[in-house]
């Protein structure tokens, strides 16, 4: 069964890298959004199984985006995929309901392992 991934990140690199890292796996990147608001729109449109979400983005940052996504679906599965990962930020994300974190840069096996962990 193919599971759908949505990438929300203002860097097109992340969409390319995640797509490449998941080639030939059960995971398929079905869309990307370059800011949080677009990401929410894409989430509603595509209903992915899991979202990778950046923190620092224009229009709406990752924390605000996560808050709105949880409001839409309390069971939404989000992996915070960011270059930043200080304790204050992680605690703020946990309070919103984000349970999974991955720091950039990442290798194909690390993101595949993180996705597997989400559905354990």
């Amino acid at each position: 069964m193919t599971r759908k991934v949505l990438v929300i990140d203002d860097s097109p690199f992340v969409f390319k890298a995640v797509s490449k890292a998941l080639e030939g796996t059960e995971w398929e990147v079905v869309g990307n959004a370059l800011d949080g608001q677009l990401g929410i729109d894409k989430y509603i449109e595509l209903r992915p199984d899991v979202i990778t979400l950046d923190v620092t983005m224009p229009v709406m940052d990752g924390l605000e985006t996560a808050k709105k996504l949880v409001e839409i679906n309390p069971n939404v599965k989000i992996i915070m995929l960011s270059a930043m990962g200080d304790e204050t930020l992680l605690n703020n994300a946990r309070e919103i309901g984000v349970k999974y974190f991955l720091t950039k840069p990442f290798k194909p096996d690390t993101i595949q392992a993180k996705l597997a962990e989400v559905f354990e």
Binding site: F13, D86, T88
Partner: protein
Amino acid sequence: MENIAEVLQDKQELLFSLAKKSFEEVVAEITEETLVANGEFSIPTDDRLSLSIIIGLSGETNGRILINTSVAYGNNIAVAMNFGDPLDSQDDLFIYLAEFANMVCGRAATHINNQFGKREIWISPPAIFSAQDLEIITPNVSSMKAYYEFTHGKFILDMGFSESSYDDF
């Protein structure tokens, strides 16, 4: 007054040491190569386009981080980020290198914020400049530099602190 200057110098050296640690960690994770800072050198520009990536730092400390290299060396890092495969286009080079700088500066912000136990700095989106014999000058900024030469090329990490930060002391 001397005491304030010493405190400021100590703080800047701590921030710079964390920025260097971040650069070394991120490059090691991308290239699986262990880095050690080298002695001073210049990036050869006779047959190479210079390339600089700049990211602003804001918050309790204001300043910027510059990563200076060449297009050819930058391409080596970008290919490593692409899991060893060649890039699709020149546009990809700049997209990948902007993200490389974002990773280095994001990691630096993480280490710095954890060190201070609060949101000491925040980073801005990167900007990339490329030209022959490019030199970026940032007035009213005191900077510290670290030089790295490894398999993928030569890179200069340059962290500058805005003099407006001194007003806090």
